[in-house]
Symmetry: C2
Subunit: 331 residues, 2 copies
């Protein structure tokens, strides 16, 4: 006799990573993933996460499969907590199997919790029959990972601080065609997780209050720069905000330092490109990779110069991408 799943609800969704131009760094509330400040990002058109959620009450517990490999306690637990939330919202109780793949090789440095939880939020909410609009989906994705709230939308996206009801993301219309060259210099595991780094920064860096204030001001400046389609101002604000985030981390104790020698050489290369008349602006997140904001027509030239600076790096060229999309579901 074969086991027959009690429920056949299943859904598949795909979401892209996003790169913050005005960074999210620090939680006002850890349980709800409410940020201290607003942030703003560009959703990329590359490296999506594709996730299928299948309800299956024959499972002893929720199951997480990443790239075909069943996951043990740690990552699976985070997904279970998220599914509990979806079940609470849906009033349903079935366990589920979550099958997720990153559509670029794992370890390329762009597999992100933003694309992962945006895709999971969309697939799970469809599989459990929640009827969520984009804003509600953004709020739900936020509970899994803060920056996932932004990957629900395509293009340029702003995420609001606030309470559980008011902290969601939404697209920002902008008459600017942006490209991003991602320099992948280290595919190894992070030396320190972004959650630990974030908490240590807010708890111990003397710069944290000024960081929060400065970021709020730079977000306003960024929105104004986008509104007048001022690419130079957008790039300068992005580079400054990134430097300030990493400066705030360096002030923590023990210091949090994601900028390796290879990262610094690449950040310097952005200045070299600008001196040569090519506008490229560097931004970094919780890892050593460096992302370069540039105009689409300049992307090849940017990547070519960066390759001379770091011949061992790999480069990914991206444009503005779409938000999360449901690829299919049945209940």
């Amino acid at each position: 006799m074969t086991a027959v799943p009690a429920v056949t609800g299943t859904a598949t969704a795909e979401a892209n990573p996003n790169i913050a131009l005005i960074k999210y760094w620090g939680k006002a509330d850890a349980a709800y993933n409410l940020p201290v400040t607003g942030s703003l990002s560009l959703t990329l058109d590359t490296a999506p996460t594709r996730t299928t959620v299948t309800l299956d009450d024959t499972l002893a517990a929720d199951e997480l499969v990443l790239g075909g490999v069943v996951q043990a306690a740690r990552p699976a637990e985070r997904v279970r907590v998220f599914l509990d939330l979806v079940r609470a919202l849906s009033g349903r109780t079935e366990r589920a199997r979550v099958d997720s793949v990153n559509l670029i090789p794992t370890g390329a440095g762009l597999a992100s919790s933003a694309s992962a939880f945006a895709a999971l939020a969309a697939a799970a909410s469809a599989a459990y029959g929640l009827g969520l609009d984009d804003r509600a989906l953004s709020r739900l994705a936020r509970r899994g990972s803060g920056s996932a709230s932004r990957s629900v939308f395509g293009g340029i996206v702003r995420w609001y601080p606030g309470d559980d009801a008011s902290s969601y993301a939404e697209p920002v219309p902008a008459d600017l065609d942006l490209a991003m060259v991602v320099a992948i210099i280290d595919a190894g595991p992070k030396t320190i997780s972004s959650t630990v780094a974030m908490n240590r920064t807010t708890a111990t860096s003397p710069f944290y209050p000024a960081w929060a204030e400065s970021t709020t001001a730079q977000l306003d400046e960024m929105l104004a720069a986008l509104d007048r389609a001022d690419f130079t101002a957008v790039g300068e604000l992005a580079e400054s905000n990134s430097l300030r985030m990493h400066a705030t981390m360096a002030g923590a104790w023990p210091p949090v330092r994601y900028q390796t020698a290879a990262s610094i050489a690449l950040v310097d290369a952005a200045g070299e490109l600008r001196a040569a008349g090519v506008e490229a602006y560097a931004t970094m997140d919780a890892g050593p990779n460096v992302k370069f904001l540039c105009r689409p027509d300049d992307a090849d030239r940017v990547a070519a110069h960066l390759a001379t600076v770091d011949p061992g790096a790999r480069f990914l060229s991206a444009r503005a991408g779409r938000g999360v999309r449901l690829l299919g579901s049945s209940e």
Copy 2:
């Protein structure tokens, strides 16, 4: 007929550079070189500046000779302003010839305005017949370059903030034998002068107020660590304070960045050394070179490891050195 100098007052003094363990970054008053915060340094036993001041009223103007080469407007002007101050204090009016040499090759990255103005203050005050005690000499040297106030003294030295009368340096007794390994990775000219960098930081970095507050607290912690001869705490405080200073600069607009890729690789190497049981702590000033505080017995091992990280760098090993000394004078 040969010109006969109207006055034959002459004096020679020698002073060593100092490396701040708690940094001076930001002026409360530019005319008097009054610092925003206190600072603390180690005077080195290497790379002194030797300066002779000879009064000579046959000169049309004060003359500055560096390493045998007569200097044009810019550096000479700063020395003239300083000599005007000495003349005002002495009630004398003679012009002077200043002959200064750095006793390591120029451009090695350790020629410092601290040793230069400490030596000049001592030589000029002797040549002009000012009878200054060490504290008055420290105040005078401060007018030439803030950190020169510290090079008046040997060993560990604290410089007080305050007004013109109360802002001077003095030695801090400590039962700790310290060594410093200086990694010279770039002998080229600075990309941005420390004065410009300092002013830009205080004017535009959102982190500046927190930097000042944090440095004042870290100076107190450093004095307590020295008092109990706690080498580990001294090193950790020095490394943290340096990272915070460079973080504060990175927050400026435009950003001030002295940390090159080579610098970061060496700063990382301090962590590698500690992981291997050798206590070395990195500190950086307004340039790409990195200085490592360590125990004298570890200096060779520190330099050997650093050489594997940056085979192109040169290394200078130093211990605690003496304060300024008068080598001879006549009037």
